[in-house]
Symmetry: none
Subunit: 248 residues, 2 copies
DNA sequence: TTATATAATATTGGTTAACTTTTAAAGAAC
DNA sequence: GTTCTTTAAAAGTTAACCAATATTATATAA
């Protein structure tokens, strides 16, 4: 059997949620391969230190995700088909900070090249659209209103300028999941200066704009990498502070 | 509150499954609208005649589907189930050369950063796996056999070494669509030296291997970019030659 | 010895009941 | 009217139990 080591779940967002994420991570990491039998409920109970109900609910969620299947009297098995029909990320994944960071890494890899392509291929109209989106966001911020949708629109405008519709489709998909998750972050960050943060983000946007406007693909790459890299850093800090709070 | 009438579930395929389907049907039928609060566990127990655990597991599954969300002390609410979208590329798209080029561009953007991360984060075991995949492909080629699956495995091994499961999921999805499309290309290229082409590809793979082995992320980026960039070039040439043939 | 029935065991499925934590709402105090 | 306190309702969690099912070991018969 595959070796495995579940983190002893701690209270934060519900035991079931924690266990779901822990198990899903193990499966996705490959510690349980397709067709493998998961440890029995009893063993998972002991390893994770939770009750049977929690384990059963966690398994129920993974079943609904199509990641595992169970047979009475036998065990729970990792599904074979996993993900060849579509690329899909569940809502719960978007809302977990740890997963959100990894999703951001994927998103960053796409947007970096997307921005470089936009710098090379953009039309004047597309450039105007990008600029407008940036200004829209600036207005919202100066009025103290929520600017998440405008931020999203800015990135979509760059996707359009890349001339490759698959970039746009990818951003559409990833972004729609990121939006609700981001509200959590924004709420968290209100504590230590959300205005200042928005000013930083806006300056990053301006730099991206300039790079694409001057058709400098290397600068576009660098500025988008910096922009999303900073976002990843902020998420990491939140994750760390959560861990510290838990250990108290 | 919305009116509802759950069928009294009977044993057939599992009580939980029955209840999940019953509740999902009610929601999809519109008997519970977006934002509505579902009846409490207790009431569902009574109406459907099952125990609390079954109700809770059913709710857990619906949560995983993104159809509902629960708040402790308040209730379970129907979500704006728009999140059931997914990133999907049809078979026809994969098989069109023009789209295949654009899909390759998306794939390249992901693999470039994925390779850079793999170079930094890889374990020795993961490196060994990458090397093995490369050697497997080499063997297949020298024996004159098809090596598409081994090529795919090589890229997946790098995805695993990146430590980010979303890279692996993305490559799994994109790659599974690319495989059938690639047969077409290979067949086409048989005309002007498939052996020579495979030797080139293999040399590119060796270079990627070396970059990740020496943990040089910049070199990894460059070598993967070259590798997939060349693939894009070949596709472009085929596209052009098709166009020329059509114009004749 | 080999084939088959039987019993023991392990595992998921399901029930029940009690307890904990969170939330919202109703009152009480100011 | 505002703020604090109490209280009830709801989801979250635990524990102990029984039922159904599949595997495995064991005993029995040919």
């Amino acid at each position: 059997m595959a070796t495995f080591q579940l983190a002893r779940v701690q209270k934060s967002g519900g035991l079931t949620t924690e266990l779901v994420e822990s198990l899903r991570a193990e499966i996705l990491k490959g510690n349980f391969k397709t067709g493998d039998k998961l440890p029995s409920s009893k063993i998972i109970e002991q390893q994770s230190g939770v009750s049977r109900s929690v384990v059963r609910e966690a398994i129920a969620q993974l079943k609904a995700e199509g990641l595992v299947d169970s047979k009475q009297g036998v065990g729970v098995f990792v599904t074979s088909k996993k993900n060849t029909q579509s690329f899909q990320i569940t809502k719960a994944e978007f809302e977990s900070i740890h997963n959100a960071i990894q999703i951001l890494e994927l998103r960053m890899s796409v947007e970096v090249e997307m921005g470089a392509m936009a710098a090379v291929k953009r039309s004047d109209d597309q450039m105007q659209n990008i600029t407008n989106c940036m200004l829209n966001m600036e207005n919202k911020i100066s009025q103290g209103e929520d600017s998440i949708a405008e931020d999203f629109a800015f990135h979509k405008a760059i996707a359009d300028a890349s001339g490759n519709p698959y970039f746009r489709r990818f951003i559409d998909y990833i972004g729609s999941g990121v939006i609700p998750a981001r509200e959590m972050i924004t709420n968290y960050e209100n504590g230590f200066g959300s205005d200042k943060l928005l000013a930083v983000i806006q300056e990053e946007h301006r730099q991206i704009c300039r790079a694409i406007e001057s058709q400098d693909s290397d600068l576009a790459r660098a500025s988008i990498k910096a922009h999303l890299g900073n976002s990843i850093k902020r998420h990491s800090q939140i994750e760390e502070s959560f861990n510290i709070n838990q250990e108290q």
